[in-house]
């Protein structure tokens, strides 16, 4: 019984929902049934939206737990930055809740959870620049890799380099000064050989998605349940 509810019922839910999801899309009996199926399909999508929202909350709580555990284990002196993380997390959630309260208490003020002024200040001045910097720091490593790792050792690598040079010159205005044809050549590379090169990858990704779905449907894929039995 316990294995049934721990393991088999969740897998059954996955199989049933996948079959229903596909049936809602492809099955047609008559117009009124089709309308009912469309409504049911939309309801299924909305369920996923609601569950995703709870998953985000659980993710935030996970971070809170990790840093609280770190402080408890190492003490505040060894883990001062964990206190910074927890403080900011708590402040942002409290401000969001204040915004939520005002959205009901005074709707005309136009304040919602995400438009609460102090909340927006914290996001715009702490999260947004840090996020941008984290993404863009890769440019340094790419530049370093261009000098230290990009070695032409065989003909395919030479073709890769030549293509990269042509597209780089086509992407920039200075390439147009050197030779105006780089722009047209870049467009041709992107529309013909590049499209053809990535088409097998797109097809392969599609086949992989179908195979993963079939594995979930036939209970062969159980990694999503975690390691515990």
């Amino acid at each position: 019984m316990s294995l049934v509810v721990r393991k088999y019922v969740p897998q059954l839910i996955v199989s049933v929902i996948i079959v229903l999801s596909i049936a809602f899309y492809y099955l047609y009996i008559n117009d009124s049934v089709a309308k009912g199926l469309t409504t049911a399909d939309k309801a299924l999508s909305d369920w996923a939206v609601i569950v995703t929202s709870f998953a985000l909350i659980v993710g935030g709580v996970d971070i809170l737990r990790y840093h609280l555990t770190k402080i408890r284990r190492e003490g505040l002196r060894q883990a001062p930055f964990s206190a910074v993380t927890i403080s900011l997390l708590a402040i942002m959630v409290i401000l969001a809740l204040i915004g939520w309260y005002w959205s009901y208490a005074n709707p005309k003020a136009g304040i919602t959870i995400t438009t609460q002024p102090q909340f927006t200040w914290l996001y715009s001045n702490i999260y947004a620049p840090a996020d941008s910097a984290m993404y863009s720091i890769l440019v340094f490593y790419i530049a370093s890799a261009s000098y230290r790792a990009f070695r032409v050792r065989n003909p395919p690598a030479l073709l890769l380099l030549v293509t990269a040079v042509i597209v780089m010159l086509g992407n920039t205005t200075i390439g147009g000064l050197i030779w105006p044809g780089f722009l047209g050549l870049r467009d041709w590379i992107m529309t013909v050989p590049n499209t053809a090169a990535f088409r097998p990858i797109t097809i392969g990704a599609g086949l992989g998605t179908i195979i993963l779905g079939l594995r979930l449907l036939t209970w062969r894929e159980i990694s999503w349940m975690g390691r515990r039995d």
């Binding site: 939520w100 840090a130 720091i137 779905g213």
Partner: protein, 241 residues
């Protein structure tokens, strides 16, 4: 009185500079910026989840119950499943969280599975069926390249079925055809990856340019002070070593 917009702009500039300082060396200011980022990100994701729940479920239920409850009463079920996700922290009832995850995974997989055969496979294959002869030599050449590189790329990824070369025997024409397509696929993909590399540089440099224009250039004093602080921290940590 503090001008919060100016103070915020200084903080932004400092956050960017301290995170970039990691490229040179790990230092205490980078750690501070990183932990502030993690806290803000976690808080923001919780706030957004609450906002989404409020707009989809809670606000309609509270403000228009007469239309919500008859048509959308079933939203209570994913809400209960979502609350059950917190059971993952329990040693005994961790499996309750699997029900919500099952719904999410199944809906995502089902949505993808029902349209992937058309969008990713059929459409891509039909787009590869192009005329291989005609009056326009450039279009014909393009079409030949398209077909050969696509088939070559598919051949390259075919790991299971390929003609074997028998010991001592002369290879069959099929073997030569397979190897030709295999090498066309490799060279075709090298062209694709070369374009990818060039576009990667464009994107990453674009990020750097926009960050400089938006956060650093308007607050150059804050940028310089933050850079000096990070440099001092790096030099001190190098001296300690």
């Amino acid at each position: 009185m503090i001008d919060w917009s100016v103070f915020g702009a200084w903080i932004s500039a400092a956050m960017v500079v301290w995170i970039y300082s990691f490229a040179y060396r790990d230092n205490v200011f980078y750690k501070l910026a990183e932990h502030m980022f993690v806290g803000a990100a976690a808080g923001y994701s919780i706030a957004l989840a609450l906002d989404s729940l409020n707009r989809v479920m809670i606000k309609p239920a509270v403000t228009t119950p007469s239309t919500f409850w008859p048509n959308s009463w079933h939203y209570v079920i994913p809400a209960i499943l979502g609350v059950l996700m917190f059971a993952k922290y329990s040693r005994r009832y961790y499996w309750l969280a699997r029900y919500a995850v099952a719904v999410n995974i199944a809906v995502g997989t089902g949505l993808a599975m029902r349209t992937v055969p058309i969008a990713n496979i059929v459409k891509q294959v039909t787009a590869t069926i192009v005329p291989l002869w005609g009056s326009d030599p450039v279009a014909v050449l393009n079409n030949w390249l398209l077909v050969l590189i696509t088939i070559g790329g598919l051949t390259y990824f075919l790991f299971t079925v390929f003609p074997k070369r028998a010991e001592g025997a002369r290879p069959s024409p099929l073997y030569y055809a397979y190897r030709a397509l295999y090498y066309i696929g490799i060279y075709g993909m090298m062209v694709g990856f070369g374009a990818l590399f060039a576009n990667t540089i464009m994107t990453r440099v674009g990020f750097l340019i926009s960050i400089y224009l938006i956060y650093l250039q308007p607050q150059y004093w804050a940028t310089i002070v933050a850079a000096i602080l990070a440099a001092v921290a790096i030099l001190l940590s190098l001296r300690k070593k």
